[in-house]
Subunit: 174 residues, 2 copies
């Protein structure tokens, strides 16, 4: 519990980023401290340690940092979800809602096998729009979502509601 408070107090608020009125939760002070980074990873993994996981799916770009470490600890592979045009081979894609307009995310069509048990990883749960889009992409590929793990949850945005069909875990709530 003391560890979690230490982790939480290391998250830096940056006002007016990426635009006026937004307070951005900056995780780089956690990343750069080996002890805090390890603590973040261990706590993100905690509820899923005893479950069968075939692959970690991680969302570009900050999700890759956590996903790489978590997949390595779980001795499983990592499947990157990327912005449109970044993956070189054939992809499934999905448009998802942003605050203004939409964006597209992609996964290779051969990345996930039917029935694969998937742990989805990202740094932050805000409105849940991105994660929900990625869940659809995983299911379109035939994967089964074991759970979704975030370092940070902005609880006041109620993103969990969009993900209510899945086990959602977050380490730090704001």
């Amino acid at each position: 519990m003391k560890d979690i408070e230490t982790l939480k107090s290391a998250i830096r608020d940056v006002p007016d980023f990426p635009r006026k009125g937004i307070i951005f939760k900056d995780i780089t002070p956690v990343l750069k401290d080996g002890k805090l980074f390890s603590l973040a990873i261990e706590n993100m993994l905690e509820p899923f340690r005893d479950q069968k996981i075939d692959s970690v799916v991680a969302i570009e770009a900050r999700g890759f940092i956590f996903g790489g470490a978590m997949a390595n600890i779980l001795n499983c592979g990592i499947i990157p979800i990327r912005k449109s045009g970044k993956l070189p081979s054939k992809t499934h894609s999905i448009d998802y809602e942003l605050e203004y307009g939409t964006d597209t995310l992609e996964v290779h069509t051969d990345a996930i096998n039917k029935g694969d048990k998937i742990l989805l990883v990202d740094d932050l749960l805000a409105t849940g729009g991105t994660a929900r889009g990625v869940c659809k992409l995983i299911e379109k590929s035939g994967g089964e979502i074991v759970g979704i793990s975030f370092l940070i949850e902005l609880a006041f945005l109620n993103g969990r509601e969009k993900l209510k069909n899945y086990p959602v875990h977050s380490v730090l709530q704001f």
Copy 2:
């Protein structure tokens, strides 16, 4: 040695990506296989295991996947190098040459302390322009580069020449 051949044969050539005439080295078949991913990480770390490393510096976005796992194994922190406008706090930035035009990379000014021993990590060494730019950024921040580790080196592009002041390690050469 047999392991390295297995790893090498898993890299997929994608012709005409991102544009006509380029054969893209697709690492996603390595990433999605837990054994191959672990083998890649262990071999990228190998020459630096017994050296003092304060931080892994990783380049957006594929470098984050390897960097996260490597930092976690080394029990050190990870410092992200990002495209312009992605890092929320005060940054050092550097323009570097691409085949056509230039691009900008940034690091937080408070990410690296004077004298920090840095292991730089990315997935691929091509012309070396990006890595050389990042080395300048690390040195501008006061860091000392212990080494640079890549999964893949496109040896025919002679990127090592641009990085001749640093210990450069690559696991797979093409």
